[in-house]
């Protein structure tokens, strides 16, 4: 169930240039059902900025009721959030949306592909997949080395390839270049990142089981405002990214 809660910040640190790792504690952690769900964060009290910021959940710690958010501070709202300290409270609405479904079984292989600030939700997904005995391969793409993060954490869970646009870390190029060069094979693919990356993956693997996590500017986060809709590929229907998604099976909605 969706809850609105003042959650307590237990930790906040910059893990790469302008990339922050925020840990918050509260009861709504118990409501999180799937990796890939997100929370809606009010970065400051009052009316400035007015709207909440949707941020995906990077790690869930049910024992201590703590969830981790990894976000880029590049706008007014997220910059304010990055200045908050442990002990402070932050208003959280969540958990929201439908995350990544886990359909594979022990012994199968899942390929997890992340681009930039789309990488974080794949971390909790990878933790859950590996705990079920599913083999994971990670391909993570970043602009450059200074904005790359979580490489060590992912490496502990499975094979991890890095691509950077400027070649400052890993292979120079895009995630799709790595998949081709390494001839990676898999039973199921999960991806989160910029739309051009998601499009490329959808086109490259039309016959595979592929799940894509989408992003869009949203207001309410619960499906009421109709800001974040995408047309479906068949018929004249639509899906709301916040409440029907953010994760969709590839081919379900027009990217």
């Amino acid at each position: 169930m969706i809850q609105l809660e003042e959650m307590k910040i237990t930790e906040q640190k910059e893990i790469a240039t302008n990339i922050f790792h925020l840990q918050i504690q509260g009861d709504l952690v118990s409501q999180i059902k799937q990796p890939g769900q997100f929370v809606h964060v009010k970065v400051a009290e009052g009316i400035e900025p007015l709207l909440r910021r949707p941020i995906s959940i990077a790690k869930i710690n049910h024992e201590e009721n703590i969830l981790s958010l990894i976000y880029r501070a590049d706008g007014k709202g997220t910059s304010l959030l990055s200045k908050k300290h442990p002990g402070e409270l932050v208003s959280i609405l969540g958990p929201l949306g439908n995350g990544f479904p886990i359909t594979q079984h022990k012994g199968k292989t899942a390929l997890l592909v992340g681009g930039g600030i789309g990488v974080p939700p794949l971390y909790e997904l990878s933790r859950q997949l590996t705990s079920l005995g599913i083999r994971v391969i990670h391909v993570l793409g970043f602009q450059s080395a200074n904005v790359s993060f979580l490489e060590n954490e992912f490496s502990r869970l499975g094979m991890t390839y890095i691509a950077t646009v400027d070649g400052s870390k890993g292979m120079q190029g895009f995630v799709t270049d790595v998949i081709e060069a390494e001839k990676l094979t898999f039973d199921c693919l999960y991806a989160c990142g910029p739309t051009p990356m998601l499009k490329a993956l959808e086109q490259k693997f039309p016959d595979k089981e592929v799940y894509l996590s989408l992003e869009e500017r949203m207001a309410c986060g619960i499906g009421a405002c109709f800001a974040c809709v995408r047309p479906t590929t068949c018929g004249d229907g639509y899906k709301k990214i916040c409440s029907d998604g953010p994760v969709f099976r590839a081919g379900e909605v027009v990217l």
């Binding site: 009316i47 709207l51 207001a219 619960i222 009421a224 405002c225 800001a227 047309p231």
Partner: protein, 312 residues
């Protein structure tokens, strides 16, 4: 005894707080969070004859103490609203105000005729003020003669009272208000959003795909208050006021300005519990201010005279 109940044409409200059209869908999302029966009324999403997908995304952008939206009247069409959404809402003890939109007068008439027959629809709200559609919408709300005609035509077919939602994007709001009153409107709702623009600092392009959007939120509250203040002194029909209400104090200002009820819009997006919170806080606020009944507040600003007699 309640100090919040209000009677308006077609509407016996247990309290004068209702979610504004377009900010609450058809209630399904909020029904998961609280019992919709506690609301005074509900203004459901604008409905057109046929289903509309609306505008391309991005459809929203944040502004200083506000937001722009250009949803574009996305809705499932009148048949689906009448046969699915409205019957689903019958489980709640809440009067529905159905928002009617169209791109021709005939479309307004047809939608009004159908929706007014629904059991739980106690009033219609003619949306002659949507700034985000190419045809219709705001065009009907900026020319007094057309505003009057669409009102009169909807009145002819409607089985329930008709309220008309006015656009603030006009030179003289009172002229439009008087025109819809002359057309037979039972009440006025105002304000809809103000047309605005935001540009991306990196690309120089508009953030919203539709280019312009409707501005809402606390940023527009002073404009909304001023318009309620002006219109309420010039017409003899009640006003449901809206525009940036975030708290009971904000709501009370609208009553002082001349509104008989208020609607909550954008606040639902930041706090889904905004409506129930404001209902509770308004009762407490009246208690604190020694006000016996909310109706005592209606139009107090101009009834007492325009100047403040506050002295430090």
């Amino acid at each position: 005894m309640s100090r919040l109940n209000i009677s308006l044409p077609g509407l016996d409200l247990k309290n004068p707080i209702m979610p504004a059209s377009g900010c609450f869908g058809f209630g399904r999302e909020f029904a998961k969070l609280y019992d919709l029966s506690i609301l005074g009324a509900m203004m459901v999403k604008a409905t057109t004859i046929f289903s509309r997908f609306g505008n391309p995304t991005p459809r929203v952008a944040e502004t200083s103490s506000g937001m722009l939206n250009a949803i574009g009247l996305q809705n499932p069409g009148v048949e689906k609203v009448f046969h699915e959404e409205l019957p689903w809402l019958e489980q709640f003890d809440v009067p529905i105000i159905a928002n009617v939109a169209g791109s021709t007068i005939e479309e307004y008439v047809e939608v009004a005729k159908i929706l007014s027959k629904a059991k739980n629809v106690h009033a219609l709200e003619l949306n002659i003020s949507c700034p985000n559609v190419k045809h219709g919408g705001i065009a009907f709300g900026t020319i007094p003669e057309i505003a009057k005609e669409v009102t009169a035509r909807a009145k002819e077919v409607s089985e329930v009272p008709v309220y008309v939602k006015l656009s603030p994007n006009v030179t003289d709001i009172c002229e439009i208000a008087k025109a819809v009153e002359a057309g037979g409107a039972d009440g006025i709702t105002l304000i809809n959003t103000l047309t605005g623009l935001r540009l991306d600092v990196k690309t120089g392009r508009p953030i919203i795909a539709n280019i312009t959007g409707g501005l809402s939120g606390p940023a527009i509250k002073p404009i909304a208050l001023r318009m309620v203040y002006e219109v309420s002194q010039r017409v003899n029909i009640p006003i449901i006021g809206m525009g940036g209400i975030q708290s009971a104090e904000d709501a009370l200002e609208f009553f002082y300005a001349g509104a008989s009820a208020v609607a909550i819009g954008t606040a639902n997006f930041t706090d889904p519990f905004a409506c129930p919170n404001i209902i509770g806080q308004l009762d407490e606020l009246l208690e604190q201010l020694n006000i016996n009944h909310i109706s005592d507040c209606i139009g107090r600003s101009w009834k007492l005279g325009a100047t403040s007699n506050y002295r430090a």
